[in-house]
């Protein structure tokens, strides 16, 4: 169970990205985070694994207060949280295999990993994950030779290597076309339903929210303006979250 209490983030230049955000995520949920660009979605996700340090507030996960942990302890927690990015964030010149194996870095001996040494177990697990995502035959190819959808799948395979309890997905399909978006989200859904991994996913399109998520929160200018089931987002709620000029757009 992930509990966010009164989370606030103010950047050094004065921008208030998150204002007093509080909500809870039960284990096994697929929570959609929606809102305009700049509403605070990316900041929120990054505060949870403390890639960005919150200014104030508390984040509790399975009883541990994450905001009170040291950097070393936080690293141990991070390995249980996988992260998927909008720009995929693969190491372009490295092979797909190396990218996927780097998901294991939090678990392997720091000295052996410096020499690119991973156990046979890790290699097998990596190949299995790639197989699950339909990329087994691309295992030793350079990462930047893959298409966008394939690169995102490598990103998911990397997150899976961590055997995570939680996946933070920061607009994972914003750079992909409608068909690929569904394909990627289906993988996340599969992990959510079959492996029991909690998923926090920020999305732009309500169709995707309706189709894949079990719950949704809406952010506007750093504040939560909606919490509830996706079906509950009617036209009024829509305008509250996205503003008066917003219009609904369907994506297939």
């Amino acid at each position: 169970m992930l509990k966010i209490e009164n989370l606030t983030k103010v950047y050094p230049n004065g921008t208030v990205a998150l204002r007093d955000v509080s909500f809870e995520v039960a284990d096994g949920e697929f929570l959609a985070v929606i809102g305009l660009s700049g509403a605070g979605k990316s900041t929120l996700l990054r505060c949870i694994n403390r890639l960005i340090e919150p200014t104030s507030g508390r984040i509790t996960w399975n009883g541990i207060d994450l905001t009170a942990l040291s950097q070393a302890e936080m690293r141990k927690v991070r390995r249980q949280m996988g992260m998927v990015f909008q720009q995929f964030n693969l190491v372009k010149r490295s092979s797909v295999m190396t990218n996927v194996l780097s998901g294991r870095l939090g678990y392997v001996s720091p000295y052996q990993s410096l020499f690119n040494y991973f156990s046979a177990d890790d290699h097998a697990r990596a190949l299995k994950n790639l197989e699950r995502l339909g990329l087994r035959d691309k295992a030793y190819v350079r990462a930047d030779s893959l298409s966008g959808g394939q690169q995102q799948r490598v990103g998911i395979a990397r997150a899976l290597m961590q055997e995570p309890k939680l996946i933070l997905a920061d607009e994972p399909v914003a750079s992909l076309d409608p068909v690929l978006s569904h394909s990627i989200l289906k993988y996340l859904e599969q992990m959510n339903k079959e492996d029991g991994i909690t998923v926090l996913c920020s999305l732009h399109f309500l169709d995707l929210v309706h189709r894949y998520s079990t719950r949704a929160i809406g952010l506007k200018e750093g504040r939560i303006v909606f919490q509830g089931l996706p079906q509950e987002i009617d036209d009024v709620q829509f305008k509250t979250i996205f503003g008066q000029e917003a219009e609904r757009v369907t994506i297939l």
Partner: protein, 653 residues
């Protein structure tokens, strides 16, 4: 842009009077701050320079002209203030032209340009030109061409020597027998110096670069201080030219290839460190985020997210530096001993111009090869190869080919180590006077005499660089059109011209200015004129190539469009080509000006005048206080010029 005061004639009169009394004051009053300050500074600098030139160079004939131009400038400044106040056109170009003319006139006399001498001595210098065409590399003995003794000195020869120990041990030859032994020549020594310096520099530059990278240092407690310290250190070391480092290192480890290698290494560490650190700062932060999110520690983040991103540009910069180091290795021997630089000094002293010419040709061939290899390799690295394979790549130690290459590489490395005469023990046994020398060096001599001398020579050096850039640049502009593929590819005749032009530029470019000075010293005598001419040749060659590449890189669209209107070739040039190439041309000129300031400081070592000569003299007479002053002056001037040129290029781009 400041706004000017409303145009009332009262304002105009006041502004004019202000500018009459104090140049620039009127402009300041009209709130054109930059203009006002520039005019005031210009007047002060020009007055100082004219005064200085008249005092030191005995140019009374032109004194009248100089002061007349100065007065014209002052008058223009009044005119300018008046017209600005009335919001009318001011002919600003005149305000730029007058100081430029004054500076060039002064520069002409300061660098002792004397076209007469070029003509009168032409007959004599033909000896040198003949030598260039008939270098001493081969001799005809009994009808066959044999490598001459000079060839052996430069490239290598086989000499009968007592057999080495291990051959005797193996029982292959009797004790005391003589065996043909290959002895490598000065060029091989030079290549070894260049390679070893690059190799050693990489080892130190890589860790230092991380300390000078802001994005890495800010993640470490106390890192920002280290970052600033390292950055400053690298900049200071870099601004002292390799040749000058050579002078200092010679006192430490003695004359020879080792000193040259060390000097080159020190300078390379700083230059590479800076380039590397800039690459580290420019990496994509995305993968760093991703790897951090998996729970990795700092070392793992560096290994998996930082290093794979920086390897290609690191390799590319290393190859670039190797190219530069090979060139520097050909001249570092001038002061530090070792390599072909030292050989050139010796042969010129003995008047052996055929040997000197042979050395130049060998240098040209080697450097052109190095250029070619370096450029090809860099292009491959930056393009990136995509290998398609479905199996895991085998580790390198299982491949026989890789192992053989590794063995050859190691053997080659050991050979270079010996040729460069690297003797680490010498590092730890400095000459007894070294500490005293360093202390003297740092305690600068700022007495008025020395200060004046250094200032005078420094100004001469700056003028040398200015005139060389101008002359070389002017000559390069028309020539570069001949060396541009897209303009010359039309007919077979023009293609031949293209190859000739390109070839000429490449050959001229491959030889450092210091090696050319000897020719000009012979032609026009020792002094700043010789140094300036040598610089002009290298400027011409370097800029010619850069300009021709700028021409080749233009957008062909406008050319097509103008041609379609039925324009002639000349009109095409003026309307389609010139507008596109003027910004890069100016940018390259400033870049070359930067380089020329540095090189101008050392042409004096071969008799080319300027601070180089002063430095050589002081070191020779063991007056290290004064030498320190000269080096400090050079560092300051280079730093100012660097800063100014960077700011100007920023404005252009």
């Amino acid at each position: 842009m400041d706004t000017s005061a409303p145009p009332r004639s009262q304002n105009a009169l006041l502004a004019s009077v202000l500018s009459l009394l104090i140049p620039g004051a009127g402009q300041l009053y009209l709130r054109k701050r930059q203009r006002g300050i520039a005019i005031l500074a210009g007047v002060l600098v020009l007055a100082y320079l004219i005064n200085w030139a008249l005092k030191n160079f005995g140019v009374e004939e032109i004194a009248g002209w100089l002061w007349l131009l100065f007065a014209l400038f002052w008058a223009w400044n009044i005119f300018d203030a008046y017209r600005l106040a009335r919001a009318q056109t001011t002919y600003g170009w005149l305000g730029l032209l007058l100081p430029v003319v004054i500076i060039y006139v002064i520069g002409w006399h300061v660098t002792d340009i004397n076209p007469d001498r070029l003509v009168t001595r032409f007959k004599d210098v033909q000896v040198v030109f003949r030598a260039l065409v008939y270098p001493d590399l081969f001799t005809q003995e009994g009808g066959t061409w044999q490598p001459s003794e000079n060839f052996g000195d430069i490239i290598g020869k086989i000499v009968e020597r007592p057999a080495p120990h291990w051959l005797v041990q193996l029982g292959l030859v009797p004790e005391g027998a003589k065996v043909p032994t290959p002895v490598l020549g000065k060029m091989a020594e030079t290549i070894a110096i260049g390679l070893m310096a690059t190799f050693l520099a990489i080892i130190f530059a890589i860790p230092l670069s991380f300390f000078a990278a802001h994005n890495i240092m800010s993640r470490v407690p106390g890192g920002t201080v280290i970052y600033y310290a390292m950055r400053t250190f690298l900049n200071v070391v870099r601004s002292v030219d390799t040749i000058i480092w050579g002078l200092i290192i010679v006192v430490w480890v003695g004359l020879g290839s080792f000193a040259g290698t060390l000097a080159l290494t020190i300078h390379s560490i700083a230059a590479l460190g800076k380039l590397y650190s800039e690459e580290v700062e420019h990496i994509d932060p995305g993968p760093i985020e991703a790897i951090t999110a998996t729970g990795a520690n700092l070392l793992q983040i560096i290994r998996y997210a930082v290093i794979p991103q920086i390897v290609p540009p690191f390799l590319a910069y290393t190859l670039l530096r190797w190219d530069i180091n090979m060139r520097m290795a050909t001249v570092v021997g001038f002061v530090a001993g070792g390599g072909i630089g030292f050989f050139v000094v010796e042969t010129i002293r003995k008047g052996g111009y055929e040997q000197y010419a042979a050395a130049l040709w060998v240098v040209a061939i080697v450097i052109i090869l190095v250029d070619y290899v370096s450029a090809k390799w860099r292009a491959r690295i930056l393009a990136g190869e995509v290998k398609v394979s479905t199996e895991a790549p085998k580790p390198f130690y299982t491949s026989l080919r890789a192992l053989v290459l590794l063995a050859i590489g190691l053997a080659f490395f050991v050979l270079c180590w010996q040729l460069a005469q690297i003797d680490l023990r010498k590092l730890f046994e400095p000459a007894p006077t070294f500490v005293k020398v360093v202390r003297d060096f740092v305690a600068l001599d700022l007495s008025p005499d020395v200060f004046d001398t250094v200032l005078k020579q420094m100004l001469i050096t700056i003028f040398q660089a200015l005139l060389a850039t101008t002359l070389g640049g002017l000559a390069a502009v028309p020539f570069s059109f001949l060396a541009a593929r897209n303009l010359m590819g039309a007919s077979p005749l023009s293609l031949v011209l293209y190859y000739l032009a390109r070839g000429a530029l490449n050959v001229l470019r491959s030889i450092e200015a210091l090696l050319y000075v000897a020719i000009f010293v012979f032609w026009v005598g020792i002094g700043p004129f010789a140094g300036m001419l040598a610089l002009a040749i290298t400027t011409f060659a370097l800029i010619g190539k850069l300009f021709s590449e700028a021409i080749e890189n233009i957008d062909p669209g406008p050319m097509e469009a103008i041609a379609a209107t039925g324009a002639t070739g000349l009109q095409k040039i003026v309307y389609a080509i010139l507008p596109q190439i003027i910004p890069p041309f100016i940018s390259y000129l400033i870049y070359q000006w930067d380089i020329n300031i540095r090189v101008a400081t050392i042409v004096g070592f071969a008799g080319g005048g300027g601070v180089g000569l002063l430095l050589n003299t002081y070191f020779g007479m063991l007056q290290y206080h004064k030498a320190g002053t000269v080096v400090a002056a050079i560092v300051i001037v280079v730093a100012i010029m660097d800063f100014a040129s960077a700011k100007i290029r920023e404005r252009l781009v």
